[in-house]
């Protein structure tokens, strides 16, 4: 139950929290952390909140592949969740229905309060928090807390509220979904530094929840976010084959300004293709392995400052 009063948001304590790993079975930081916590959850327990570690896609984890039939992190659509259950449904759709029963139902008052979904990317995104709604003041305050706790180390916030590009994530069954994306890390590989970064983000996130549940008031604050604008595909030939790569000047330059006229792609025979957009954008998810099949070389974003209301336990 939330209520607004003079720009204050009052929410019930966050009692039910989950940490998801293995939503993509080859993104190893989350798989490893969740498996660790399932054996011994002491590290993720806080006073007054039960945090449940959970492997969302065990079959994909077993195969060390992103998914088995279809991308679990796109599967939580209303259509899928309400489809008549049965064994002829794709594995991930069955799984989405099970997860929705355990941690949802999505959109209902019985849903989990917070779900953290752990992901890795081959892109040079560093530590990134993914926000699904600019009006989720609880999440904004948590992200502000995490960013300050990690400073001077960087942790940026990606806001995906785009009506067409927004997708139905596993974490979206919760009232407050939080995506954690840490890179660069190849699929199927576990890098210690990336693993440690993800672990410390979760630590700060759970500290915030504990403080919130104890009644701490978090005063109004501003949070800088990068709002998703559009998806840019690779140049392709008439048969749909990729004909160019991310340009060396753009490769690894996630979050840096891309200006009209800047090099964007390089064809296999060495020609440069320039960015022709109307203004400066901030690209991210540059050269993510899993997005070749989703027709995405990178997404463009614009910088925005969101205002978070004061937030306190009701």
């Amino acid at each position: 139950m939330s209520s607004y009063n003079n720009n204050n948001v009052r929410l019930n304590a966050a009692r039910r929290v989950a940490v998801f790993g293995g939503t993509h079975g080859n993104e190893m930081s989350g798989v490893t952390l969740v498996n660790l916590w399932m054996k011994n959850s002491a590290e993720i327990q806080r006073k007054g909140v039960a945090t449940k570690p959970f492997i969302t896609n065990p079959k994909a984890v077993e195969k060390c592949s992103r998914y088995v039939d279809t991308d679990l992190n796109r599967a939580f659509t209303a259509e899928n969740l309400s489809a008549p259950s049965g064994e002829d449904l794709p594995y991930e759709v069955q799984r989405a229905q099970e997860i929705n029963k355990m941690f949802g139902p999505k959109g209902s008052p019985d849903a989990y309060d917070v779900i953290f979904d752990l992901h890795n990317t081959t892109s040079n995104m560093g530590s990134t928090l993914i926000l699904e709604s600019s009006k989720d003041h609880f999440n904004l305050q948590m992200m502000n807390y995490i960013k300050k706790a990690l400073a001077p180390a960087s942790c940026l916030v990606l806001l995906n509220e785009h009506p067409l590009l927004k997708y139905s994530t596993s974490r979206s069954v919760a009232k407050h979904p939080v995506g954690l994306e840490v890179g660069p890390q190849p699929q199927g590989v576990l890098r210690s530094n990336i693993f440690d970064s993800m672990r410390v983000i979760i630590k700060h996130a759970l500290d915030f929840i504990e403080l919130f549940n104890e009644g701490v008031e978090f005063p109004p604050c501003t949070v800088e976010v990068f709002r998703v604008l559009e998806r840019v595909d690779y140049p392709r030939d008439a048969n749909g084959n990729i004909i160019a790569m991310v340009h060396p000047n753009l490769q690894d330059c996630d979050w840096e300004p891309l200006n009209p006229g800047d090099p964007m792609f390089q064809t296999f025979d060495g020609k440069t293709i320039h960015y022709q957009g109307p203004g400066t954008v901030y690209p991210t998810f540059i050269n993510e392995a899993a997005y070749y099949e989703k027709q995405q070389a990178f997404v463009t974003t614009k910088r925005e400052t969101l205002v978070a209301c004061a937030v306190k336990k009701a």
Binding site: L36, V189, N193, M245, G270, A289, Y292
Partner: protein
């Protein structure tokens, strides 16, 4: 006089460049496709052109390392000679096709040189991986690339196996090596890595052309890293799950010297596990994704300087020494 002898070796009339032996190692996939496309457009009949091969089209289409078994382990004498079962895996069938196309391995009909293109998630720069430390052709090509591409870290890796036991596609030709370039995640093509591979292949073909035209290449030295052993990740005794990751101080430091006592792994509770060997060795394939399932966290090698003689081409079928 020592050092003035030139070894004359048969011309390299038939050369193969192979990509996509692992379907998710994309630099080689895109480079071979690009070379095939340029050839079609140029319609160039002049000079001898390399045979271009996409080794594992099914795995390439699905962007997987392999569909059933690792194609690049199918070329040992035993593997190639064993009778084919009705339900042989795709890669086993494909290995026989490739052996027929580029071999038969060990026969006089095999191609003169196979260059097999690979990528690795390890920070290895450009490596030649070969079964011999006395294949003067491969070593001269390496020396040539090192001179032409001085900004690219380049190493020559030697797996000391006799021809019968050599198991990879590059062992099908009379000469051969894998050109392994990293770091690049599987399923991704990085423009700098692709360009390095494109230049490397071009310089190789240039050298071969010069060699076949009669140029004498002076001898010299090549630093060779010979494989000594592999190390697996520490594992839980009962579940066999990995319990530690490559230590952050070792990650990305391929070919640096690993001394006894140096940090090797870091457990998930933050404890450092040191290297317990008695000999300082040079690690490579540190944290290669595809090797988790093969039980390899890193490989260790011994470095030594190998002298290579001057070489030139002969139209004879066999090597000739000329003073």
């Amino acid at each position: 006089m020592d050092g003035q002898e030139a070894v004359c070796l048969p011309k390299l009339s038939r050369v193969a460049v192979c990509g996509g032996t692992h379907g998710n190692e994309l630099s080689g996939v895109y480079l071979v496709k690009e070379m095939m496309k340029s050839r079609k457009e140029e319609d160039n009949e002049s000079g001898s052109q390399p045979v271009l091969v996409l080794s594992n089209p099914r795995a390439t289409k699905k962007c997987l390392r392999y569909t059933e078994v690792d194609l690049n382990r199918c070329f040992s004498r035993d593997a190639l000679n064993s009778p084919l079962l009705d339900i042989a895996p795709y890669e086993v069938l494909r290995s026989r096709e490739l052996d027929a196309l580029l071999g038969p391995k060990g026969s006089p009909y095999s191609v003169d040189l196979v260059c097999d293109l690979h990528n690795t998630t390890s920070n290895m720069g450009l490596c030649f991986i070969a079964y011999s430390d006395s294949d003067w052709i491969s070593m001269h090509i390496f020396k040539h690339l090192k001179r032409c591409m001085p900004d690219i870290p380049m190493r020559y890796i030697h797996f000391d196996l006799p021809q019968d036991e050599s198991y990879s596609l590059d062992s099908v030709g009379k000469h051969g090596f894998a050109m392994e370039i990293g770091p690049q995640p599987h399923g991704v093509v990085r423009s700098n890595i692709y360009t390095t591979m494109k230049c490397g292949v071009q310089h190789m073909l240039d050298w071969i052309h010069l060699f076949n035209s009669g140029r004498v290449f002076e001898g010299g030295f090549v630093d060779v890293f010979t494989l000594v052993k592999h190390l697996d990740y520490p594992r839980d005794c009962s579940t066999l799950d990995i319990i530690a990751a490559i230590h952050p101080q070792l990650q990305d430091r391929d070919f640096c010297l690993l001394n006894p006592g140096d940090p090797l792994f870091q457990t998930f509770s933050g404890e450092t596990m040191p290297y317990n060997g008695t000999e300082s060795l040079h690690p490579f394939f540190i944290n290669e994704c595809a090797y988790y399932e093969k039980g390899i966290a890193l490989s260790l090698s011994r470095l030594r300087r190998v002298k290579i003689p001057a070489v030139c081409a002969t139209s004879e079928q066999h090597a000739v020494i000329v003073t």
